[in-house]
């Protein structure tokens, strides 16, 4: 990806106020790291009504703990209730929404109008944000939802900067846009490939990602490819708007949404960290803002697909799809998380999250730009016994760090060139 130094979107500036950075949290630990690394709000899934039925998803007790943790940072917790309900899903909806309100959830993200209307009726303290699953592309539809009492609309991923500017110019409402992560290549919600291929209902959380499978394409019963050529696929590259933060802020996007409730804690922390620094840096001094190469490098350390800019500047073309075999491994792996640090001795206690050993190159990073590389020196367990490697998941490892570290800083190791 090339570095962009000038804004590409040259429309009229809407206004300059600090956007919300909204991060995914697949479980309580991810929530804590997302908030600690700078998310202003996180969105999670509960046990029902969400579109990631394979994710860990939160119990009400975990939600309460998450809300309590987030509130210490002034951050909010949203819950995705973004399925398109079938008749039988409606029983229990009222109780579920009341329980979310009771747990201190700030907002639900909903697509199905019956979920929206029920929330407004039984849990009025819950804000209702219109999900991207409604594929909202135009200002008049946004106006409709505003008149229905919604304070925020998550736009379709197919909207461009021009579209966002037109919507902001016509309707006074909060606009949330996806700025990073994996994308449906279809209009969200307008895909039932999983239903047809695997009898799994995509719009109730059963998506089998059939768009990323490989297909043969024929014309008049003749193949449109030769055997050595790449197969047809609908699979899209992932969205990354880190280089274009000024454009997003200038056009007036109120909430910057990162995709990925299924992603790792390392991914979430890394991506949030990069966007947090970019947003803060731009807001502090828009005139002299410069994208830092290391933010982008960090993103690539956790990215597991090639990246692009979606529909923001233009309709995606050939270069925006992944025809080649997918190599989903990120170049870096999460190796450990700092639990404590002793300034006098310079020793840190690191909780092992992946195998590492003395002599290995690692990086430490944390919120607000903490970052350094070092070679792992001697390591020991908490009893002081020297170890040849940190093999055991979650084992507490004592090691020297070359600079001071803080609890919740992360250590990552390079796993591939």
């Amino acid at each position: 990806m090339s570095i962009q130094t000038k804004p590409r979107y040259t429309g009229k500036r809407h206004r300059l106020s600090k956007p919300e950075l909204l991060a995914p949290a697949g479980n309580l630990e991810k929530l804590k790291f997302a908030v600690h690394y700078g998310a202003d709000a996180v969105y999670i899934g509960g046990q029902k009504y969400g579109l990631r039925s394979n994710a860990d998803n939160f119990s009400f007790a975990e939600m309460k703990e998450g809300v309590e943790f987030a509130s210490r940072y002034g951050a909010k917790v949203f819950v995705a209730t973004n399925i398109y309900a079938h008749n039988e899903d409606i029983a229990g909806l009222e109780d579920y929404l009341r329980a979310l309100e009771e747990a201190g959830i700030a907002a639900i993200i909903a697509a199905d109008p019956i979920i929206i209307e029920t929330a407004q009726r039984v849990a009025p303290k819950l804000e209702v944000h219109l999900s991207t699953q409604q594929s909202t592309l135009n200002w008049q539809a946004v106006q409709f939802w505003k008149e229905e009492g919604l304070p925020r609309v998550v736009l379709a991923r197919e909207t461009s900067f021009e579209d966002i500017a037109a919507i902001k110019a016509n309707v006074d409402i909060e606009i949330e846009a996806f700025i990073h992560g994996a994308m449906c290549s279809s209009f969200s919600g307008r895909c039932v490939l999983s239903n047809h291929f695997t009898d799994r209902d995509s719009n109730r959380g059963g998506c089998s990602q059939s768009c990323r499978w490989k297909y043969d394409i024929f014309e008049e019963d003749l193949p449109m490819f030769s055997p050595e050529e790449d197969k047809f696929t609908m699979g899209s590259k992932d969205l990354c708007m880190l280089e274009f933060i000024p454009d997003l802020i200038d056009v007036g996007v109120d909430s910057f949404k990162i995709e990925g409730r299924m992603k790792s804690v390392h991914y979430v922390a890394t991506v949030v960290n990069a966007y947090r620094q970019a947003i803060d840096s731009y807001m502090a001094d828009p005139e002299h803002y410069e994208l830092k190469q290391e933010w982008l490098e960090d993103i690539h350390k956790a990215a597991n697909r090639p990246l692009n800019t979606g529909f923001f500047y233009d309709t995606p073309g050939a270069e925006d799809h992944i025809y080649e075999p997918e190599d989903k491994q990120a170049p870096y792996d999460f190796a450990g998380v700092v639990l404590s640090y002793d300034e006098e001795s310079g020793l840190a206690v690191v909780q092992q999250r992946n195998h590492f050993k003395p002599g290995q190159e690692v990086e430490f990073f944390g919120p607000h730009g903490t970052f350094f590389k070092q070679t792992v020196g001697d390591i020991a367990d908490e009893a002081g016994s020297k170890l040849d490697a940190a093999r055991h998941p979650l084992q507490h490892i004592v090691m020297k760090t070359e600079h001071p570290v803080k609890p919740m800083d992360m250590m990552r190791k390079r796993v591939r060139p």
């Binding site: 539809a141 579209d163 307008r190 799994r200 499978w213 394409i217 309709t315 799809h321």
Partner: protein
């Protein structure tokens, strides 16, 4: 004699419409791709007016397709377009995007609205929600099973429309995916991207371009591009003709035959067969028995590569 459900279909041209009226169709959904999705052919506002003139004297209704996901530019043209449809005597507007509802409220208050969000029209409570906002009909998602369809009918005062025959859309992207693939292969796409207006031919044929997934070699999924992006269609054709009485017994109001990607001859045969079933059942519901010859007529013209299926009517899905 029981109340007859409406037999609704599509048409690629006025010529096809005439023939399908002869075959027994009661109503048509037509329109143009700027406002409607996956239409069998292009009917601009003037042609829609022609269609109304052709249909109304024979007691046939015309519904205009405005079920696209609208962009900001198109939204600006909606009031004039809706007024022209109203003035032409169109019987209803089919919408999914709330922008159409907003525009219709002011441009043509009182005009009938059919809510059709395709795969996301999945429950009766949401149908009733749109009913409270002006819709008089819900077009149910094709991914529902029979129990869900019957339950929806029992719990809504809106008219209920159900597709009973033909292919269904299973994926819609705004991206030009075939074009992009060919570009990736360093080839250019020579196929016309738009059907000629009123050509008398279906917009595309079902076997013109299709996908095959490696583990399902016998299933051909039609794929085509138009102004609205890329559309992938089901590999089977829904065919509920043998079980139509299950839908008629509970009073489903409209039975839809989707004629997209099919020849006039095929659609004519299908409409005629369903007409016969509806007429036979409604004349004597108690004494009604299904006659194989109705299905045989369809099978004769059915593309052997495409299975006639019950779709999701008798399937259980997980999530």
């Amino acid at each position: 004699m029981t109340t007859k459900p409406e037999l609704l279909t599509s048409a690629a041209s006025l010529e096809e419409m005439e023939r399908l009226i002869e075959a027994g169709a009661d109503a048509f959904v037509i329109g143009e791709s700027r406002y409607g999705l996956r239409l069998a052919g292009e009917f601009d506002a003037a042609m829609i007016a022609e269609a109304v003139k052709l249909a109304h004297p024979r007691g046939v209704r015309i519904y205009a397709a405005l079920n696209n996901l609208m962009d900001n530019v198109t939204v600006g043209t909606l009031p004039d377009y809706i007024r022209s449809l109203h003035d032409a005597g169109v019987d209803a507007l089919v919408f999914g995007d709330p922008a159409v509802l907003m525009a219709a409220r002011s441009a043509a208050p009182g005009m009938a609205l059919h809510w059709n969000a395709e795969m996301t029209s999945t429950n009766y409570e949401t149908a009733n929600y749109w009913g409270r906002r002006g819709a008089v009909r819900v077009v149910l998602a094709r991914e529902l099973n029979m129990d869900q369809v019957l339950e929806a009918k029992a719990h809504t005062s809106l008219a209920v429309q159900v597709q009973v025959h033909g292919l269904t859309n299973i994926y819609h992207s705004k991206r030009p995916l075939v074009h992009s693939y060919l570009e990736h292969q360093n080839e250019s796409d020579t196929k016309p991207q738009k059907a000629e207006s009123n050509s008398g031919q279906p917009r595309y044929r079902e076997n013109e371009r299709y996908l095959i997934e490696v583990e399902r070699p016998d299933e051909q999924f039609p794929i085509y591009e138009d102004d609205n992006g890329t559309h992938i269609m089901s590999s089977d054709d829904l065919c509920m003709i043998e079980n139509l009485q299950e839908l008629m017994e509970v009073g489903i109001d409209s039975l839809k035959i989707e004629g997209l990607l099919k020849s006039i001859e095929y659609n004519e045969t299908v409409v005629r067969a369903y007409r016969a079933v509806i007429d036979a059942y409604c004349a004597d519901p108690e004494g009604y028995t299904f006659q194989e010859q109705w299905l045989d007529a369809i099978k004769e013209l059915q593309n052997p590569a495409r299975e006639l299926s019950y779709g999701f009517f008798y399937k259980e899905q997980v999530y």
